[in-house]
Structures are given as structure tokens and as C-alpha cells.
């Protein structure tokens, strides 16, 4: 008889197996990536060591990695908030752009405040714009049962086209000599630095704690978790599903909007179409890999930031396109996804 392999449920699911399986799958992802690099006649050892060097090799690079980690952390927190409710918000990109847009309106046109007030108002405006932009999908879902995945995605493209329109049209900087860019923010609309990096990293750390408390220790967070687990249970418990959904999605978008604020005010110094740069999508992976747990978001975001920073470093030093980072990201995700079954099942060979 042919040898047959089948999955048999494990007697007990324990944390140890879980961690072991996850680590093995990350190693597997690097292994596959190595094969891929060897195929392209690149020494994987050089590539990976180059990446580590590029990410942590010098204080400047560590600062660069931190700058890359901040938007990932905040956006992932936003994604987490929605995913906890099983609301598949993949519109982080669009919400970041609209958040940045909200901050830019103040920075560019209504900046008659002192720096602190202006920055606070910009952050608030960014959060509101990001939140309201996300709300479109929530409202459509609540009242028309529209699939939020596709709506949030389409909204990404719309936001992108909208900012492109601004950049090439009404907001085009006349001083840029025909170059399509939006004017730089005035100095007082720029985030100050702390330890060589814009204060975004402090905001990110504070937000991790706030989101953690909100999701795990407040009534609203509890209600979000219940809706995510079972709409019927939420109905049974008398939870106002519409109101909680709106709050949850607004918060999710608001967090992404804050990312837009930090990116425009702290990193780019202006609004541009490149501001989101795939963060919205990477955040989905991070939220998923963190198992929707806030503290893990920090760790995974830093690792992903290192991956991004490292790959942009080896782009120049080893001539590897930085889309390698995307491939590696998806490979890690594939491997983790494949590994999930092994945490609850084990393979059994029988004849």
C-alpha cells in the first residue's frame, strides 16, 4: 500500500509548540529566500549579513530603522483594532494618505498658531481625516452589507489618485520650477527630534500602551472583541453593534491617519503620493504575525523595519532590488500561514 500522510489533531495545544513551529517557519522562509538568491547568483550570506549591517550597523542606521518602525507600529495598531472585530480593513494606505492630507491642510494654509498648538491640531486633523475616510467602508458595510475588504482597497486607489491630483494640480508648488511637488511645510509644522529621531517614536510607544489598555481593559474594547468573535453573542449581550463598529473603524482609521501625520510632518516635511509607501499593506502582515497582540506589534514592527532598512542598504551595496524585501515578507507570511496547521495538528504517517 502507498504510504499515506495525514493530519492528526494534537491532544493539547501548548504555547511551547506554538513558538517552536513559528520559529521553524521563519527559518524556512529565510531558507527559501536563500535558494531564490542563489538562483540569482547572489550569496545569501552576504545578503543577510548586509541586511543586518544595514539595519543596525551604525547609530545612523539604527535611527533610520527606528524611523521606518514608527509608521509600521502605529498603522499595525490601527489594523489590529479593526481586525479584532474581524473587520478586514486593508485600507491603511488610503487612510495614511488622507491623514497626511488632513495634517497638510493646517500646515500649509491655516498655520497661524504656535508650533505646539499647530502640531497638536495637525495630529487631531490627521486622525479625524483618517478615521472618517475609514468610516466610509464601515457605513457601507452596516447599511448595505458591502464587503469592506474591496471597499477599503478601492479607497486606497482613490486616495492615491486624489493626492496625485493635488500634487500635479491645485497644490503644486510654483517655486519648484514645474517639478510636480507640494510646498514644504513651514518649520513650525515639523515634528521636533528627540535622540536624533523625530518624536514619532515616543508617540508610537504611548499608543501601544493606550491601545493595549483600550482593547483589554475597557468595556468598549471588550465589546469589539465580542463582535469579532460572534455577532450573535453581541446581539445577545445587548451590544449596540452599529455604534461599536463605527467607533472601532474610526479608531482604526484614526491611528492610520496619525501615521500620515508623522510621515508628513516628521519624515517628509510635506505631503506627497509616496507618503504611505506600502506601510498599509505591511501593517496587515505585522498585525497578523503578532497574533493581534499589542506587545508583539512592537517586536515584529522593529524586525520588519530592519528588513526594509536592510534591504534598501543592500540595494546599493549588492545591487539587489529592494523589492526583495517584499518577497521576503511574503515568504515569511506564507511559511507562517503553512505552519499554523502544525500547532493544532501533527503529521501521521501510516501504511
Amino acid at each position: 500500500m502507498v504510504n499515506q500522510v495525514r493530519f492528526v489533531r494534537r491532544d493539547k495545544v501548548d504555547k511551547y509548540t506554538n513558538i517552536k513551529v513559528k520559529l521553524i517557519s521563519i527559518v524556512a522562509a529565510f531558507f527559501i529566500m536563500s535558494l531564490f538568491l542563489i538562483m540569482l547568483k547572489i550569496n545569501p550570506k552576504d545578503a543577510f549579513i548586509g541586511m543586518i549591517k544595514g539595519a543596525f550597523g551604525s547609530p545612523l542606521r539604527i535611527r533610520q530603522t527606528t524611523i521606518k518602525a514608527v509608521p509600521l507600529i502605529i498603522t499595525s495598531l490601527g489594523i489590529l483594532t479593526a481586525f479584532k472585530m474581524k473587520f478586514w480593513n486593508i485600507g491603511g494606505e488610503g487612510q495614511i494618505l488622507m491623514g497626511a492630507f488632513g495634517a497638510s491642510i493646517l500646515a500649509l494654509f491655516y498655520n497661524g498658531f504656535n508650533s505646539t498648538t499647530l502640531l497638536l491640531l495637525m495630529a487631531l486633523s490627521a486622525a479625524v481625516f483618517g478615521g472618517l475616510y475609514a468610516l466610509i467602508s464601515a457605513v457601507l458595510k452596516i447599511y448595505f452589507k458591502t464587503n469592506e475588504t474591496i471597499v477599503t482597497l478601492m479607497l486606497n486607489y482613490i486616495a492615491l489618485k486624489f493626492i496625485t491630483y493635488l500634487q500635479y494640480g491645485p497644490w503644486k508648488d510654483k517655486k519648484a520650477l514645474g517639478f510636480p511637488k507640494i510646498a514644504n511645510f513651514p518649520d513650525k509644522a515639523l515634528l521636533p527630534n528627540l535622540l536624533g529621531v523625530n518624536v514619532g517614536w515616543i508617540i508610537a510607544l504611548i499608543l501601544i500602551i493606550l491601545v493595549y489598555i483600550f482593547m483589554n481593559h475597557t468595556k468598549k474594547g471588550y465589546e469589539i472583541a465580542i463582535i469579532g468573535e460572534s455577532i450573535n453573542t453581541a446581539r445577545y449581550a445587548g451590544i449596540n453593534i452599529k455604534a461599536v463598529t463605527i467607533l472601532c473603524v474610526f479608531l482604526s482609521g484614526a491611528l492610520c491617519g496619525i501615521t500620515g501625520f508623522i510621515q508628513s510632518s516628521g519624515v517628509n516635511g510635506t505631503l506627497s503620493v509616496e507618503i504611505a509607501g506600502g506601510v498599509g499593506y505591511t501593517a496587515i502582515i505585522i498585525a497578523y504575525l503578532s497574533n493581534l497582540k499589542e506587545p508583539f506589534i512592537l517586536i515584529v514592527s522593529v524586525l520588519f523595519a530592519a528588513l526594509l532598512q536592510g534591504s534598501s542598504y543592500i540595494e546599493t551595496s549588492l545591487k539587489i532590488p529592494n523589492s526583495a524585501a517584499l518577497i521576503l515578507q511574503s515568504l515569511i507570511l506564507f511559511c507562517i500561514l503553512s505552519s499554523e496547521i502544525f500547532t493544532t495538528y501533527r503529521l501521521k504517517f501510516k501504511d
Binding site: L140, V151, I158, K161
Partner: protein, 306 residues
Amino acid sequence: MTSFLHATIIAGTPLFLSTLGEILNEKAGNLNLGVEGMMLMGAVAGFLAAKGTNNAFLAILCSILFGCIGALIYAFLTITLRANQTVTGLALTIFGSGISSFIGQNLSGKVVPDRVKYFLSPIKLPLLGDIPFLGKVFFTQDIIVYFSYILAFAAAFYFYKTRIGLNLKAVGENPYAADAVSINVALYKYVNILAGGALCGLSGGYLSLIYVPAWQNNITSGRGWIAVALVIFAAWNPCKALLGAYLFGGLDIIGFRIQDGFISKYFLDMLPYLVTIIILTLFSFKRSKKNSPPKFLGLPYFREER
């Protein structure tokens, strides 16, 4: 007007191919959000093959093959390893866009070789092509457009008139029922998902080889996602998918047509995405018995072996 409609068909064809690809996936009960990724893989592979071999046939074959490879990853993960379909699909999209920009790094701006272009240029069909107006719009097209006409009807026949189509419906509606009557659920899923991947790959190849026809990064620009939405618009019906794809094809090119008009080009570029949302909303709202998704869409199936 004739030339506008002619161009609409060309713009609609890749949308149709990937929509049909997604329909095959969803009929088998799998929500595959990796359409965009499979299209990108097919696009870059087809373009590279066209550059390398100068052979249109091989280029198209390569597109199809790469679409299949993407689908195989998805199928293996979601069927055999029972991974979450939504996340796997998203991962596939990221993977596809990574691979395509990685490989396409040095191809940006390059154009398709003339020999390939010539082979894939429009052919006027005898008789049908002579019909006034319609002949120009529908029957003076390239071979893939003709292939897509046939495909729409072949797929409809497969879904509604054959026994394997019936079995496929059972797999998507209730795999437990299908399994109980000895239908090989996994096999049906694999075959249809791979076929769907082939169509998505072909769709990507069509973009890079015929529609553009040159390489540009992120060549699909969200068409894969529009295809996912079109499936709902088409109510899982291949013939309606053809109509929907042409409608969106028209929206896609309207920005090019109204140059220097009263509305900014960038606003018109938003149109397909905006209309997708509107149509999706309308169709989700009046969902009836007939145009509801397969009941087991998105859910993993496994015979419980404790």
C-alpha cells in the same frame, strides 16, 4: 465612437479573464484575494519571455504558467494546509508584486518586440468582421479577445450544463455533502483554482503584451481587485462577467479619451474605483437567493480526523 468601443473591449478583456479566474476560485468555495498578485506574475513572466524568445506563443504560455504557480501556492496553503484564505490571498498579492518588480527592475519602459506585437495584433474575422459597426467593435480584435468570447460561453456551459459543474457547485455550497457522495473535494478545488490562476496569469500577460504593451512597474494598478468586485457584480455568472468587464473597461479608458476636458484627468482616473464601490454597494444590498455567493466561500474544509 467605434474606436472607443473597440478600445473598451481591449481594456475589458484582461478584467474579464481575471474575473472569470476568480469565479472559478469562488465556485470551488475559495475566496482568492491574490488575483492581483497572480496577474502581476503572469504579466512579468510573459513580458520577459517575449523579450527573451521573441515568440508570442511562448510568452503567453509563460504568463499562464506563472499565474498557475501563484495559484498553486495559494491552493496548497489553503486546501492542503488549511490556511486562512483571506490572509493567504493577501500574501499572494504581496508576493506577486514583489516578484514582478524584482524581475521587472531593469525592464521599465522597455517595449514588446515587434514580432510578438505583430502576432498579437487585431485580426479581422471573415464575414463577421464585415458587419457594419459590430464587426469593427467585436470582430476585428486579437486572438485572445476571441478566445475570451469562447471562454465565457464555455464556462457557462461548464457551470450550468455539465455533471462536473454540478459537482463543483456542491463543493462550493457544501463540501461535506460533496464529500459524502464521494466527490473528491480537494481535487475539484485544486483543478479550479489552478485554472483560475491560469486565467489571471493570462490576464496579466494581456496587459503587458497587448494592452500597454510595454513594461511598467505595478502594471495591473488594482485591476485584480476590481475583478474580485466584478465577481459579485456578475453574480458568479461568466456571461454577466463579460458585460461587467466591458463596462469597467470603458471606465478605464475614459480618462485617456477626455483629454484637456473640463475635468482633471486624475479625477477621471478615480472613476473605475469609485464605480466599483458604488456597484458593489448596490449589488450587496439587493442580494437575492439567486445571486448569493457559494455558502462555503472562504471557509476551510476538512474531514474531521481527530
